[in-house]
């Protein structure tokens, strides 16, 4: 079975699966380029400089945040954003930790994210499988467009009935937020999964059927493992979507004790608007997990997208 685990379509062949080897992190899809000899050695300076200038728009704010977070409260408000912290202190991190009750908020965010990621992968993979393999049936075709239509309905428009509904069902808590995250990203995920699913040959399944496997078994033992590259992509988007979401938890969760990390950051933009150092320490702590996760997983995203969304 493991030999069949890389369904490379002709279009995706440019994305070598060798990108999974350690050491080429993040450069996977580009590696065939290096074989083209002369051009590969030369550095394209104009392009590099343009990119460098553009990336400054990200690096400067990031450095300012780190710089600010390391300052003392007194130095943070002196109006000189570029001055180096003197003395260097970590007190703002400990203060932010206590103010936001960081461990609890982190646990809430982690819970919502974990449920969303697992739910989004399993449910949209199931739906995509059913739809793609029954594409010639009208009901399934229609249900696909019905699901896609959901992509065009923004959360805010249904937010009011949503708030009421979750209240009635006693889901005005992190679990309810996770369920809503799952639903609102299903359209995009099913689109990704079903595009990928079409590249898996039906013959694979037929041979398994002949061996007496049921549909359920076929899905879990054959199809789901084959979907792994796309599941990784979907999982990463699911992670980012729910980890960073502000609106849904802030509207749905009624108990402030159960609030997620991003929502808690808002307190620094109102109440404590003067303690920049604490605010920035808190921002950095809130963004760190997402950046770390993304750094380790980004190489799967491009290969997944290449085979799914933008074919």
């Amino acid at each position: 079975m493991s030999t069949t685990a890389t369904p490379t379509t002709p279009a995706a062949a440019g994305t070598p699966s060798s990108s999974t080897s350690p050491g080429t992190t993040g450069r996977g899809p580009r590696s065939p380029r290096r074989r083209t000899g002369r051009a590969a050695v030369r550095t394209n300076w104009p392009v590099t400089i343009v990119l460098l200038v553009c990336s400054l728009s990200v690096l400067v704010p990031l450095l300012i945040s780190i710089n600010m977070a390391l300052k003392t409260s007194g130095q943070a408000v002196d109006g000189q954003a570029f001055s180096l912290p003197a003395p260097l202190t970590l007190e703002s991190f400990t203060e932010a930790w206590e103010l936001t009750n960081f461990p609890r908020a982190l646990a809430m965010s982690a819970f919502i994210t974990a449920v969303s990621v697992a739910g989004e992968i399993v449910i949209s993979a199931l739906a995509a499988y059913a739809i793609v393999r029954n594409w010639e049936r009208r009901l399934f075709r229609w249900s696909f467009f019905y699901l896609l239509a959901a992509m065009f309905i923004p959360f805010p428009v249904v937010a009011l009935p949503q708030v009421q509904l979750t209240g009635i069902l006693h889901l005005d808590n992190p679990l309810g937020v996770a369920i809503l995250h799952i639903v609102f990203s299903l359209a995009f995920n099913t689109m990704l999964f079903s595009a990928f699913m079409r590249s898996i040959p039906v013959e694979l399944e037929e041979s398994m059927r002949i061996d007496g496997a049921s549909t359920w078994q076929t899905f879990w033992r054959l199809i789901f493992p084959l979907l792994a590259p796309m599941a990784a992509t979907v999982g990463i988007f699911a992670f980012l979507g729910s980890w960073n979401d502000y609106m849904m938890p802030s509207l749905i969760t009624s108990n402030p004790e159960l609030q997620t990390l991003p929502v808690l950051q808002q307190m620094f933009q109102t109440q404590f608007s003067n303690s920049y150092n604490v605010a920035f320490a808190s921002y950095l702590m809130a963004m760190a997990p997402a950046i770390i996760v993304y750094l380790f997983t980004q190489r799967w995203v491009i290969s997944g997208l290449t085979q799914g969304a933008v074919k």
Binding site: S55, L59, A130, F140, L160, I182, Y246
Partner: protein, 315 residues
């Protein structure tokens, strides 16, 4: 739902029909009825969490509606289009749609152009690509709330941007200037989302055959010509996706005006329709008016997405 009632035994031309007709339930459900079971959680889910609230939102937009505590009864008289009339004659609502138009006019072209150019620049580089990519992704993978804090500091009255600009700094400053608030938000959103769209384009570029560039180069096409005649048409499907996604997310702008300009300030100059839905529906207790805005918004977004689909298909 609607689908099950409207299955008529008409055969669609061009589709292979089985020679012997199966029983109706088999035609409806396919050879594997389990398939329906697999997509059922999704469909029920969507029905409960999307279709029902959407229908409900449309419903209350035609009534004089108030939310009550559970068990308390209140009259909800039917008022026809009165909510729509009220909303459409409210200058604040009209302004918010105007604001979002300003936003989209800045955000969407800038997003498409910048992400396409940056992605192909990244794609043509051989060194330091990983570092550059990470740099562009950082804003995207970070929560808006945190980034907004950074921008508030940078664009404040005595912030970094103004001290760099010196005498050129706008007065009043960016986020409290009624002309510059919305463009500032548009820039912020473009900057924040760029990483995602660069990613989409990078993925699309992997499917553009490299031989095309090489033969174009042999034929003497310059870098700009290669970009125009190979890259741009080569990633058209990605452009369509980027356009639609940018329009949808842009029209649903909420977090940025809510936090960056503290509730659509100054004086509603950066209010978005969704922000008004929030303010009217949840803060002021007028769900009927809020729903009317929502319905108008959904229709406009649908039309815009449709138009952009047409546009990219034709050229």
């Amino acid at each position: 739902m609607t689908t099950s009632t409207s299955v008529a035994p008409t055969s669609t031309p061009g589709l292979p029909r089985p020679a012997t007709r199966d029983p109706w339930w088999r035609r409806l459900l396919g050879k594997q009825p389990l398939g329906l079971g697999m997509s059922l959680p999704y469909i029920v889910f969507l029905a409960l969490v999307m279709a029902y609230p959407l229908g409900y939102a449309v419903y209350i937009s035609f009534f004089d509606y108030v939310f009550t505590a559970p068990g308390v009864h209140a009259d909800h008289p039917f008022v026809g289009l009165a909510n729509y009339r009220a909303v459409l004659s409210d200058p604040r609502v009209l302004d918010s749609f105007g604001n979002i138009a300003v936003f989209l006019v800045i955000n969407v072209p800038l997003t498409v152009i910048l992400s396409m150019v940056l992605a192909s620049a990244l794609n043509s580089l051989t060194r330091w690509t990983a570092a550059f990519r990470v740099a562009f992704y950082v804003p995207y993978v970070t929560a808006s709330v945190s980034l907004i804090g950074v921008w508030m500091l940078m664009f404040s009255d005595d912030g970094l941007v103004n001290s760099l600009l010196g005498p050129l700094a706008p007065d009043p400053s960016w986020l409290v200037n009624s002309h510059l608030a919305m463009p500032s938000i548009a820039l912020f959103v473009t900057w924040k989302q760029l990483g995602f769209y660069v990613l989409l384009y990078l993925a699309a570029l992997q499917n553009v055959p490299r031989e095309l560039y090489e033969s174009a180069q042999v034929d003497g096409a310059g870098a700009v010509q290669r970009f125009r005649h190979i890259t741009v048409p080569g990633v058209r499907s990605a452009t369509l996706l980027v356009l639609v996604l940018a329009i949808i997310t842009g029209s649903n702008l909420f977090t940025e005006p809510y936090l960056l300009t503290s509730g659509g300030g100054p004086d509603g100059a950066s209010a978005s329709p969704v922000l008004l839905i929030y303010q009217k529906g949840i803060q002021q207790g007028n769900p009927d008016l809020a729903s009317a805005i929502g319905v108008i918004l959904v229709i406009l977004v649908g039309l815009l997405s449709l138009a952009s689909t047409r546009l990219t298909k034709e050229d």
